[in-house]
Assembly symmetry: C2
């Protein structure tokens, strides 16, 4: 049966955007909510949320848990962009084709909005159970928090950012570069897949192979990002192109060259697709299509 | 029977410091762990962790859950200080008698260390259950995450900081000032008490009265902070004295005057002690003594 990613995504994106708009609070005090919404809404490919939903569907996961997890990973991603764009970090003024949060709201509010988005991400995962709807099992709530905290923290994204910061102007070899990216972008992408898996009952084999899939897709995403940084223009990217080379940051292109980077991205895609085949899961078409999209995208 | 807070605290502080030193990772990459440890270890009164442990003991809570919750609230407190001290916020160079984190490690690493500390706080609350020790019930883990996220986020601490930021040079009335402080410092102090309570089985009355206690102590803490900001010197405080007046921030002293602020702190103490009496809990002596300490402290 034919699978149409556009059609599949369209319905999920509507749910994700609607949930984000509902959950990212407009009424936070002193303009904080406005900055939080600006950072999150109307932008982004929502790759991470789509990975959460696709993985959850593959294991017949709990729908509300998956939607909350999808929004939570997006909030972590959004907060990391807000902080990463600040003058003391990458000092960037353009993101998703719009002024960055600190340009629009000032640095102090950008800092606080990022902090509040991280807290809100965890808050989404543990909804108050005093409602009439059949709640998300406590075990699932705790597991989702565990996966998200691990992916976002020193062992994951924040740790990767620290390596990134320390690596400006430094010649990394391929394995050091891979270690940096596994944490910086890979951890949250892999975490998205694992959080989706945690919304259902994935067996040992499926869990292992989904992790392998997430890990390969996470790394492929960064390799392609590095390729696009040198081959695409700012308008297509919606952010400043050529930034890494300009900042003298090591990238896959600078370490492997353009052609070998392209070949490596294809290898990682094959690895991801093989893991899905080995997972024993009945329907992984959305996960397959998302992996292809990650490698074939032009922004 | 006589209760000695110094003796009670001493054993708990040893456990807290040892746990923080174990859990705040030295091996986070690229010097991030060093900045995180600098922000957390060897400093601070540990009031929030002591409130967690005292509340947990009052309800015969789960020991490991309480110790993890105690450290988690301290990590949230520590991260908020790191970000609050940064040049784009309060721009302070002295904290606990030492150079602030961004002075010592640079702004980018301070930003990341704060971010990683927030993630680690949640990670501590949901330990991996693949251990032999009798684990913390999933329900307790999820409840602790819920309370911490709420206390730290837009409805709590981060929201209060945003109000604080917007109130520089603005004349707040007493109720606006109370609203700001309920969020900025009160939410995490009240949250500490509620997290301690969540480690055990507090009934409805006890939960309500512990919340009232936490709320009163949280507000009293801020009133006393405002008093000390004008009456103590920097050496005693371990941070810059007179800062609020200098930055033209509204404080209890500026709104109520010194004498009425002192009287208000006593009223809040009475309120806290009355709540403990009404809680029906058998032994609340540590909570009582901590409330007295908050109001009588000189730093």
């Amino acid at each position: 049966m034919r699978f149409d990613l556009g059609e599949w995504s369209s319905e999920r994106l509507t749910r994700i955007e609607s949930a984000l708009s509902q959950w990212v609070v407009a009424d936070a005090p002193a303009g904080l909510g406005e900055a939080m919404r600006y950072a999150v809404l109307d932008g982004g490919k929502r790759l991470r949320p789509l990975l959460v939903l696709a993985a959850s569907e593959a294991v017949h996961g709990h729908d509300e848990a998956a939607l909350r997890a999808a929004c939570a990973v997006e909030l972590i991603h959004a907060y990391s962009l807000v902080h990463d764009d600040m003058p003391c970090m990458d000092d960037d003024v353009l993101r998703r084709g719009k002024p960055t949060v600190h340009v629009k709201f000032g640095q102090a509010k950008a800092l606080l909005a990022g902090d509040a988005l991280q807290a809100l991400a965890f808050e989404l995962l543990v909804p108050n159970t005093n409602t009439k709807a059949p709640g998300i099992p406590d075990r699932v709530q705790a597991t989702l928090c565990r996966l998200l905290a691990h992916a976002a923290g020193h062992a994951g994204m924040a740790g990767g950012q620290a390596i990134d910061l320390a690596s400006i102007g430094v010649a990394l070899n391929e394995s050091q570069l891979r270690e940096m990216h596994r944490r910086k972008t890979g951890a949250l992408l892999e975490g998205s897949v694992m959080m989706g898996a945690a919304c259902g009952e994935a067996g040992e084999t499926a869990t292992r192979e989904l992790r392998a899939y997430g890990s390969a897709v996470g790394l492929a995403f960064q390799v392609v990002d590095d390729i696009l940084d040198v081959t695409a223009d700012s308008a297509t990217l919606g952010k400043t192109a050529g930034k890494d080379a300009h900042q003298n940051k090591p990238t896959y292109v600078s370490v492997l060259g353009l052609e070998r980077s392209r070949a490596y991205a294809r290898e990682l895609l094959d690895e991801a697709l093989r893991a899905l085949k080995d997972s024993g899961l009945a329907d992984t078409r959305a996960l397959q299509a998302l992996a292809v999209m990650v490698v074939d995208r032009d922004n």
